[in-house]
Every structure is written in structure tokens, then in C-alpha cells.
Subunit: 335 residues, 2 copies
């Protein structure tokens, strides 16, 4: 197996303490590679970075229209959210409109991805519910689609369930893989994960960025998903989180979606580009820094110091003294 180059390093004091290898690829809608570094043919699990595609399945099926989903609800279907009050409130309202409660969600329960939110809820003595799960929007989307298809809700996370079968056909269309042949696994929230070459993920994102390249129904669904995330960047993730900040600060020109274990997918509607990125070892912060590096390299960020915090996050002591930083390194990068 070819060794991926170092994309990010952590400097502490006088030396590099740790470093992160990985691969990324930037593509346009015509399937043209703009930039590729590392092994972009290797199969990866996109994890939550695929949520926008899964949400398109729900929209394209007609479920979003039947149940009058708002743009906020569609954004939540794409989200790995913090389980902050405004996320949970919207999920519970959506479920109530379906005549359900969050007990039907098969995603399990976990503490918020945002430490401050997690500790705040614990300090307030609040009980976590299925609606607090970062993936509760995607799950509510699957249930909405089950109702629309007129099939039982139970086991909607199973790969043989009609909802997953439907969504998988949409994934096959957009990502151009044969799911029957693809490696498969189960995500932390119980939903199937499908292995796919990093390059296919990038190309799929490019299609979503310039959705005219899809058929008319898929194209319309993709546009709705993009507008939903542009309108509600805070719902993709939440306070203090990278995906929300990037989408908001770029005014929707960059829609960034993380996936667990070091994955990023980005949709650039204005450029018609898609980006996919995976850090070999799965480190989320390194993936954020790498994506910032790629965006900077291709002059996709405004000249604005607001980005610095994400591009080169500081390493701090518990007394808040800066003693190092993460940084994207270009020295191994050959086009």
C-alpha cells in the first residue's frame, strides 16, 4: 500500500510532536481532478460526511414534500449536531408532527460532541435522550421516508429495510459505486456505512455543487439540500463547531461536512467543485486543519484572520498559554 504524505503536523516548542498522514482530492463536475494528494483510490467509509447524500434520498423520494419539511429540518437531516437545545427542540417538534416521539429513533444515546454542551447538560442534571444524538436528524429523516413509503418504521437502520434500499440507490447514482460489491460496516448510530474510493466521494460532492449534472428530480433535491445548509449553517453542527463556522463564514460558498474517523466532504456551489479528504488515523482536528489547508491552497478563503483559528489551531496549556500549533504542511504536496 502506498504511504500517504504527511498533511498536518503538531508543533510543540522546538519540534514536531505528532503528525498526520492522509489523502485528499478536489474535483469538478466534469470528473476532472483539480488536485489530488495521496492514495485517492483507497476505499474509505465516509461516515457522517455522506449525510447530505442520504438527505437527498429523502427529498427525492417525495417524503420531504409530503410531510412539509422545512429547510431547517432538511439541514438537520444532514447534521452531526451538538444536541444543543435548539437542535433537540426542532427534532422533537418534527417527530411530534409525524405523531411520534424520539423513542422510535434507533441511534442510541451519547454525550454531545461539543465538550462545553456536554458538561453544561450534565451540570444541569438533564437526561440525554435519543433526540440529543448527533445523528437524530438523519434518523428522523429515515423515519419520515418510511412513513412516506408506507413501510413499517421498525429496523429502518437495517440495510435490507426499504428506506436503506432506497437511499442506497441514490448513493449509487451520485457516488457511482456498486453497493452490492462495496465493503460495508455499521456506523456508531447503527446505520450501514458503505466503503467507497475517496475520489468517488469528491466527484459526488462536485455533482451536488453543480447539480445540473444530475437528472431533473435529483438535481432539484440536491439544490434544496444545498439551500437548506446555506440557510441554517448552525444546524449542521452547532456552537464552536468547524462545519457550522466554515459554512457560515464563507456565506455558503463552502459547505463542509465532517465524518467520524477523520473524513471531510465539501461542496463548493459557486465553483462547482467537490472535495473529499481522509486522515489515515481518523483524527478530526487534523482533518479540519487539512481541509483549511486545501481551501487556502486553492484560494477559496477570503483574506480574513477569522480563519486563522481553524487553519492553525493553537496547542494550549491548561492555563491557556499557547505552546504550539497544528499546521497544514505543503512540503510533501506534489500535484
Amino acid at each position: 500500500m502506498a504511504v500517504n504524505p504527511i498533511l498536518v503536523e503538531v508543533i510543540r516548542g522546538d519540534m514536531v510532536e505528532s503528525f498526520f498522514r492522509g489523502a485528499y482530492v478536489v474535483m469538478d463536475t466534469n470528473g476532472q481532478v483539480i488536485d489530488a494528494v495521496g492514495n485517492v483510490e483507497r476505499e474509505i467509509y465516509p461516515r457522517s460526511a455522506l449525510k447530505p447524500v442520504q438527505a437527498i434520498g429523502m427529498i427525492e423520494s417525495g417524503a420531504a414534500e409530503t410531510f412539509h419539511l422545512s429547510l431547517a429540518e432538511i439541514a438537520l437531516a444532514c447534521a452531526s449536531h451538538n444536541g444543543e437545545d435548539y437542535h433537540v427542540h426542532l427534532i422533537n417538534k418534527w417527530l411530534a408532527r409525524l405523531g411520534l416521539t424520539c423513542e422510535v429513533l434507533e441511534c442510541g444515546i451519547h454525550a454531545s460532541m461539543d465538550k462545553e454542551t456536554a458538561f453544561a447538560l450534565a451540570r444541569q442534571g438533564r437526561d440525554l435522550t435519543f433526540a440529543h444524538n448527533a445523528c437524530s436528524g438523519k434518523h428522523t429523516g429515515f423515519i419520515t421516508q418510511a412513513l412516506h413509503l408506507g413501510v413499517p418504521i421498525e429496523n429502518y437502520t437495517h440495510i435490507d429495510h426499504p428506506v436503506q434500499q432506497y437511499v442506497n440507490r441514490v448513493i449509487e447514482d451520485i457516488i457511482e459505486i456498486d453497493i452490492k460489491e462495496a465493503p460495508k460496516g455499521i456506523d456508531g448510530c447503527q446505520v450501514p456505512v458503505i466503503g467507497m474510493p475517496l475520489k468517488n466521494l469528491a466527484q459526488g460532492m462536485a455533482k451536488l455543487a453543480h447539480s445540473q449534472s444530475l437528472g431533473p428530480v435529483l438535481s432539484q433535491a440536491a439544490q434544496t439540500m444545498v439551500v437548506a445548509l446555506q440557510t441554517h449553517p448552525g444546524l449542521i453542527a452547532g456552537t464552536g463547531r468547524f462545519c457550522s463556522a466554515i459554512t457560515q463564514e464563507s456565506k455558503g460558498k463552502i459547505i463542509a461536512k465532517m465524518g467520524a474517523d477523520g473524513v471531510f466532504a465539501a461542496i463548493l456551489p459557486e465553483k462547482g467543485w467537490g472535495i473529499a479528504l481522509k486522515i489515515d488515523d481518523g483524527h478530526l482536528k487534523a482533518a479540519e486543519v487539512a481541509l483549511m489547508g486545501v481551501l487556502k491552497k486553492h484560494h477559496l478563503l477570503s483574506q480574513d484572520s477569522a480563519w486563522d483559528h481553524w487553519a492553525s489551531p493553537p496547542v494550549r496549556t491548561w492555563n491557556h498559554q499557547t505552546v504550539g500549533e497544528f499546521s497544514f504542511i505543503a512540503k510533501d504536496l506534489k500535484k
Copy 2:
């Protein structure tokens, strides 16, 4: 730079999702390499894996005797503990004996390294103090040594302070490096970190394992430190933590000490061996799995399924279904 081999991979369903490169070296007291994989000459920061050496400085100076430190207190000086009640209680008692409170500690405040402990404290509405910091024992040790040396306590974390100067001479003796020339940085708890080749760290650990190889005073101090950790493995880390479990379950035949950013140092008193290990990207769980792999490879673990949980930790969904595992891989390992 030579690329380190893959030591650990994470399998999810049908494929490897993420993988971790790194280096390790096993040495005996005579400076003989028993096993070395990857670049073991590369300088790393040992971070908290060096605490046992720093504690030896305190013992060797006479501070431990002057202030009648118990074996439990010496174990805490080597610890990255959870800040559980029994850790915090002992630290505060130790400080009270010195006529001080934990306000003098310069380590800062952070939530427990153990998630359950962290959330339990938050749910109970308890305020975190400096004594809860994982490094509060090391810091109390430094203060004890300052009092013994008759120097001001203030700025005891600064590299020019007499305590750090004293401890650095002990590090130079045991690790055989020239600190003036070594790369330096500052740890999360504000104490200096010194870069050193991985091999030197392993050799230092081998000396502590068979302390007759040191001069008589250092040898006595090293033996005291080893006995302290063998007697109080729960104080090294705490409930649910790797270092405590391995030291306890091996009945003190393996003293394992983690350092932040993927480091392990291990002392094997019965064998007279030392081990040092670093995962390139700093992943703690991968470092634990790699150390287990090395211990297994050299037949240092009893035939006991109690180790399985540490050797191949499962990847679970939020519903607690096992969907993958971490594993040590030997395929890249050439002696």
C-alpha cells in the same frame, strides 16, 4: 524521514477504516536492543511517561524522606490520575502536611481524563480544583522538593527554577541526553518537556527495571518508585484506565505509564527490560493496543482473557453492539 510501519489498525465491518503508524523499542539493562520497530532514534517528547523519572529526582534529593512521603504519595507523583475522590483526597492531605493548599499548584484545571468520572463530577455540581488535575501529584512532588531545597515555591514549573534544574540533572543521568542541546517545549500542565530519542527513553526504563545499574543513591530511589507503583497501581491512573489495570493485573511485573500524544514507557522489573513506544499521530488507544501487542509478542502476558479487552478493544455502536475492533498488526514488523 523514514516512514514508521503500521502498528495498529481499526477494522469496521468488511475493511480497515483507520490505521496508526509508530515505533517501539524493547531494551535490556545492558543497552542491548531486544526488539526495535520503526525509527527509534527520532526524538519524541515523553510527556507524562517521564513522571517516574521526575519522581526519582524528588526521592533522590532527600525530599521524600524529609517530608515522610508515603508510597501512595510517591505513586501519585508518578501519576496521570483521574481526579477521583481518593486521588484528590490524598493530594490535599499531602499539601496540608506541607502547610499548603492546592492553590499553589501551577498545573491549571481540566476535566478528568476518565469520561465517567468527568460527567459524574459535573452531574454532582462539584467544582474542579487544581488537585483534580491529572498531574497534581507530580506538581505536589515538585513543591515538596522546593521546600526541601529551601527555595521559593513560585515558578517551580519554570525550566530555570532550582527544582527543574535538579530534576533535569537526574533525567540527564538516567536517559543519557544533554538537555541543553535537546529540543524543548511546555507540557499541558505547564512543566517543561524535553525531546529525547525513543531508544534513550527505553534504555532509561530498563535501568529503572534493574536499578543496580545506577549509582547507589539513584538505585535506591528507583527501587522506591517501582515499589510505590507496584503497591498502588490504582493511583497511577484510576478506574477503567489502562496503566492501572496492566500494572495491577500483571502484579507489578509490568509498570506501564502513558504520556500524552501516544507515548508509553514500561518498566519490567522481573525481566530487567524497558519499553518505549510512540504512535506518530498521538492516539492514546492505539498506543495502548500497540503496547499490548509488544507485550504479547514477547510472551510477557499471562494466558488470560482478562487482557483481551485491552489488546483488541471493540468498536461499538451507541447501542453497545460490537461492529469492529482495534488490533495490533504484525505484518509490517521486521525485527
